[in-house]
Amino acid sequence: METKQVKKKSNNWKIFSSGIITSNPIFVLFLGMCPVLATTSTFSSAFGMGLAVIAVLVVTNTLISLIRKLVPNEIRIPVYIVIIATVVTIVEMLMYAFMFDLAQTLGVYLSIIVVNCVILGRAESFASKNTVFHSFLDGLGTGLGFLLGVVLVALTREIIGTGGLGFNNPLTGIELFHVQLFPQQFAISLFTVSPGAFIVYGLLTAAFVAINAAYKDRQEKKAKALAKVAQAGGNQ
């Protein structure tokens, strides 16, 4: 009984964490690349975008999982599109009402969450097959993975591009803090505009691939060594 409980727990954790690390939507799956490039010129806007995506992803995943047995298989995708578009519009309206400055900076990128591959992708490949709670976890995990990804890109860009880091309160648009890490005249402002976005994303991708490869390599070596030890043990 107890072992079963533990196993269940670890399974939940696995669902939750896979979206963050092993199948991170930004650096591993490369889903929804537009907002990663477009909304990451400042940390505040990237954070806001991440939050919006989390909200949409959690709600759509849960809803779609709720109705997964009701939807006739043939018209699955059109129904998903309607649900996603409704949720995105609602999130957009709420943001324009309560986080006006942030919503204005994000602009059209807020609306095009509708066609973001992450959302429909998770709906299709996960929420349509799994229980409500698991889908909720998956949405939260993938959303967090997305948030971490955009924030990472944004931090790199803002620090190199302006020499400092600021954060605006998403509700009021007033600056909460701003630290200048090095004088502005040494900042490379190229990183705050479009080429910087591509270059930073490209470099971070390469770094992610390299780290992943190294990790896999180590694991394989470990497994080999273990096998060797086992073999040696067997021989004795």
Binding site: V28, L29, L31, P78, I81, C117
Partner: protein, 70 residues
């Protein structure tokens, strides 16, 4: 115009559009492809780009997950 009428029209518009999409979707699925086309497989339904590097990764991961669950 009364609010309830506006909402009613909104429901009608939305219903019409959804019906349109579903009809076209189903009709399109039932129309056979001409012979000799490149098959774009059904994975990555959101963004199924043939020859997309992303896609092969996504498919692999999905497979791996499937095996894990087994």
């Amino acid at each position: 115009m009364a609010d309830w009428l506006r909402i009613l029209i909104a429901v009608a518009i939305l219903g019409g559009l959804i019906a349109l999409l579903i009809i076209s979707y189903i009709l399109n699925k039932r129309t056979k492809k001409p012979e000799g086309c490149i098959e774009i497989d059904e994975h990555c339904a959101s963004c199924n780009i043939e020859g997309c590097a992303v896609r092969s990764v996504a498919v692999e991961i999905e497979r791996a997950q499937g095996e894990d669950e087994k």
